[in-house]
């Protein structure tokens, strides 16, 4: 990311004609001016100072948007180098491919939540939707073949549309609605699987090659993850849905008063979130050759952590799926690192909980919420 610097001097007159203000401004642009997200951040340092005194506002490094946006990437690089230094075999192509393959499902879950978090909501039902999806695939694959996949995805989208619909029409906070949906979906998964994990038989496994294969030596889940990332970034940056989501997260009242159909965007976001959770469930089932009603239960916390660690604001309006890619990789590398150090797999949730709180504490925009509930 290259930068150019410009400086400008702005003079303004106040209501009574006195020359009040000299505000020195220093602003930078990222070379990629089209990148809305970067512009948001790089321009945040451009300020015209208040009119009451002749203070000159200077920027500090900490508030510098460019630096702040780069923190997750630097963190990721630092972690990779650190683990590589301790265990040189970590930096081989094969190990890195394994890490990325492990990241793929977490990323896809996190990408789904990113759509919802961008407009200021939260989806707590994704782990249940992913588990249910793994069960549906396991139950139906040998009978319906490839048709099992779109059918499962459809179930995912419908649960998301249900959550989104209830959220906007009954005006219930999203965390309550999705928590309730999570209960409904988890129970459905338990009933459907008769509370057991279901192994996908030989007759079904032939349909799983698109998940377990390695085209060009790269595990195909990585390619699927990359495809999700590309489509997600495109959706957020170039479609009205993505633009409106950002605007809703940053200022819902103004977006509504601009004639945007806010409810519709919300329902789309929740549908995408659950749809991607469903895809993640399918991939998990494929990789493990089985479905289970509790398969993805441990993934909710890391997925939310990935979104926030990547730099998407939990209150919405800033961030995106590109950042979630970095966030998911950070979480994965931390997980590998912990296993390497010998942290128990269940104790790892403690770390993700702490990481989530720290990441929110660092990234949250407190000016936007007067009272935290």
């Amino acid at each position: 990311m290259t930068e150019t610097k410009e400086s400008g001097v702005i003079r303004r007159k106040n209501a009574f004609g006195t020359k009040m203000q000299l505000a020195e401004t220093v602003f930078r642009f990222s070379s990629n001016r089209r990148n809305l997200r970067n512009l948001r951040l790089t321009n945040s340092e451009f300020k015209i100072s208040g009119m009451t005194s002749n203070q000159i506002i200077t920027k500090s490094l900490l508030t510098d948007g460019t630096v702040r946006a780069a923190i997750p990437i630097l963190l990721l690089l630092g972690l990779v180098i650190l683990i590589g230094a301790l265990q040189p075999s970590f930096l081989t192509v094969d190990t890195l491919l394994v890490v990325m393959a492990d990241t793929a499902t977490l990323f896809i879950l996190a990408a789904g939540i990113t759509f919802v978090v961008m407009l200021g909501g939260i989806d707590l039902s994704i782990q249940a939707v992913a588990s249910l999806s793994s069960v549906i695939v396991a139950v139906s694959l040998s009978r319906f073949g490839y048709w099992a996949f779109p059918a499962t995805l459809l179930v995912g989208f419908i649960t998301g549309a249900f959550s989104g619909g209830v959220h906007v029409w009954l005006r219930i906070p999203s965390f309550i609605v999705t928590l309730a949906t999570s209960g409904l979906v988890a129970a459905a998964a338990l009933l459907l699987s008769q509370e057991r994990s279901i192994t996908i038989g030989e007759s079904g496994r032939v349909y799983l090659n698109w998940i377990t294969g390695r085209p060009f030596g790269i595990p195909s889940v990585i390619l699927i993850g990359a495809l999700v990332a590309c489509v997600g970034i495109w959706l957020q940056r170039y479609t009205p849905f993505g633009r409106y989501s950002t605007a809703i997260g940053a200022g819902e009242a103004a977006t509504w008063a601009s004639g945007v159909k806010v409810n519709r965007q919300k329902v789309i976001a929740y549908s995408l979130s659950a749809g991607l959770a469903s895809l993640a469930g399918i991939l998990l089932a494929g990789r493990l050759s089985s479905g289970s009603p509790t398969l993805a239960n441990e993934l909710l916390l890391p997925a939310i952590a990935a979104v926030v660690v990547g730099g998407t604001s939990i209150t919405g309006g800033a961030g995106g799926i590109g950042r979630t890619v970095v966030g998911a990789l950070i979480i994965s590398v931390v997980r590998v690192g912990m296993t390497f150090v010998g942290v128990d797999i269940f104790a790892q949730q403690i770390v993700f909980g702490v990481v989530l709180i720290l990441a929110v504490a660092v990234t949250i925009d407190r000016t936007k919420i007067l009272i935290v509930k």
Binding site: F16, M51, A318
Partner: protein
């Protein structure tokens, strides 16, 4: 006793108070009058410790005091009865009166309710109302709550050695005449206990209750006199300041509207807000709606953009009957809305100018309906040039713009969406004089281009100066219609007569 000396205060570039001097004597009722935006509320908030002045000081009995918080103000004997009531309706009357002071009644961490209620009863006795302190506040009428507020302010007597000053910020705006009379009687009776600062829009009330009156305009005190030596017309003249200067509102550019009707209301009603409103709006016409708070004009304005759906009558846009239940429907019909709350409803402050300008009409290309970012930039640059928005780039965030430039971005959003009917809801609120004139200029430009405009303005001056025709509302009814073509403009008194 309490004096305000050379106090100035500015907000985001707008000088709200400019070298203000006010003196409040012992056992005196001081009246404060001025138009919206004259600085009355800011002055009250400084006295109440909500804001601190940029320059100047407050003095109590000659010694400077610094009020860092409302609590500080309380401890110095200054209490306030807010315009929007500050009581918590889910608490009892007694709990409200001693909110934040429970420590006095606490033993071993438990509140002694009996003692608290007895103390509250003493406060209520001071204002001579018979309310049980155990009553839940939500069960009281609005007028009764006002009395509780007054009792709460009087409770300060027991916490401070100082003489009390009680600020009454438009206490009558929501009261009926009978309750106003009772309130005034109480204030007169309480004069021996406290001084009062009384703010009201209604000049006759100010004259009736006050001993001395300060007149404010554009953040300055422009007049100061004994209540006995002045009259409503004189106060009014001072509030408005100068005779209305025709060119300020670009009246020479006012042209007659076209024949074509774009917006038509017949019997338009919203239950509980206004009834049976009729009007027609022609292409290029500016229609003003005048009325006091509660006259229904705010709801009428918001009905036209789908915020408050109509419950009766018909609304026609370009000859087609519509029922708007959401802003998106209004926007689809080519209606735009410039809100009073610019910073929350007008703009997404943390997003760039260009993004805000295209929020109502994204430039989507042919490729899978994707947004063309280069086209967006072009559009935004064109609007920045055309409306002379002062910003280094179209990527600057809206929160860094001055109020006037922010308002232009809101306008650009609707011009970009090709809105042919624009609803201006207090478009000059919070803007300085120069920015106001630019807004007037833009309204004339739009009108010339054939855009039809509905305007609710901050002042009558503005309404009269800018509009082709004016609708006056009172208590949810249209009480008068005026033709306001140049040379036939009605006077403010003409309008006020139908407003109150």
């Amino acid at each position: 006793m309490l004096s305000v000396e050379h106090v100035s205060k500015a907000f985001a570039g707008v000088q709200a108070l400019d070298d203000v001097n006010v003196e409040i004597g012992v056992n005196e009722v001081v009246g404060l009058v001025g138009e919206n935006g004259a600085g009355k509320s800011t002055l009250m908030r400084i006295l109440a410790g909500v804001y601190s002045p940029d320059r100047g000081s407050l003095k109590l009995d000659g010694a400077p005091v610094f009020l860092r918080s409302p609590r500080d103000a309380n401890l110095n004997g200054i209490g306030i009865v807010f315009q929007e009531q500050s009581l918590l309706v889910n608490l009892t009357v007694g709990e409200n009166i001693y909110l934040g002071q429970e420590a006095e009644f606490t033993r071993l961490g438990l509140i002694d309710r009996r003692r608290l209620n007895a103390a509250a009863r003493r406060q209520l006795d001071k204002v001579e109302v018979d309310i049980d302190p155990r009553t839940r506040t939500s069960e009281l009428s609005f007028a009764a709550r006002q009395m509780v507020e007054l009792a709460k302010a009087l409770a300060l007597e027991e916490r401070t050695e100082r003489h009390l000053v009680i600020l009454l910020d438009e206490p009558t705006s929501v009261l009926e005449q009978r309750d106003i009379d009772i309130l005034f009687a109480r204030v007169r009776a309480l004069k021996r206990r406290a001084s009062f600062v009384f703010v009201s829009h209604r000049l006759d009330e100010i004259l009736e209750l006050s001993d001395r009156i300060y007149v404010m305009k554009d953040g300055r005190v422009v007049g100061h006199m004994e209540a006995g030596s002045t009259s409503v017309p004189q106060l009014h003249q001072m509030m408005v300041g100068r005779d209305r200067h025709a060119e300020y509102y670009r009246e020479s550019r006012q042209q007659s509207p076209k024949e074509e009707i774009v917006l038509e209301a017949r019997g338009l009603s919203v239950k509980g807000a206004y009834q049976a409103v009729d009007f027609t709006l022609h292409k290029g016409e500016v229609l003003g709606i005048a009325g006091v708070v509660g006259s229904g004009r705010e709801e009428l304005t918001r009905t036209l953009f789908g915020f408050v759906p109509q419950t009766g009558g018909t609304l026609k846009i370009d000859g087609h009957a519509v029922r708007l239940t959401a802003p998106s429907q209004a926007a689809d019909q080519g209606v735009g809305y410039i809100p009073r709350e610019r910073r929350t409803e007008g703009l997404v402050l943390s997003l760039p100018i260009a993004v805000n300008m295209t929020l109502s009409s994204l430039p989507v290309g042919r490729i899978m309906g994707a947004i063309s970012l280069s086209r967006e930039r072009q559009l935004a640059k064109r609007w920045v040039d055309k409306l002379r928005i002062r910003t280094p780039t179209v990527e600057a965030l809206c929160l860094n713009l001055s109020g006037g430039n922010q308002q232009k971005v809101v306008l650009a959003k609707w011009m970009n969406a090709r809105a042919h009917i624009l609803i201006f809801d207090h478009p000059t609120r919070g803007l300085d004089v120069g920015a106001k004139e630019e807004v007037y200029e833009l309204i004339r430009d739009l009108s010339e281009e054939g855009v039809a405009i509905v305007l609710t303005a901050d002042t009558l001056e503005e309404t009269i100066g800018l509009c082709h025709s004016i609708l006056v509302m009172r208590d949810g009814q249209v009480t008068a219609r005026f033709d306001a073509s140049p040379g036939r403009k009605p006077s403010q008194v003409d309008l006020i007569r139908h407003m109150v």
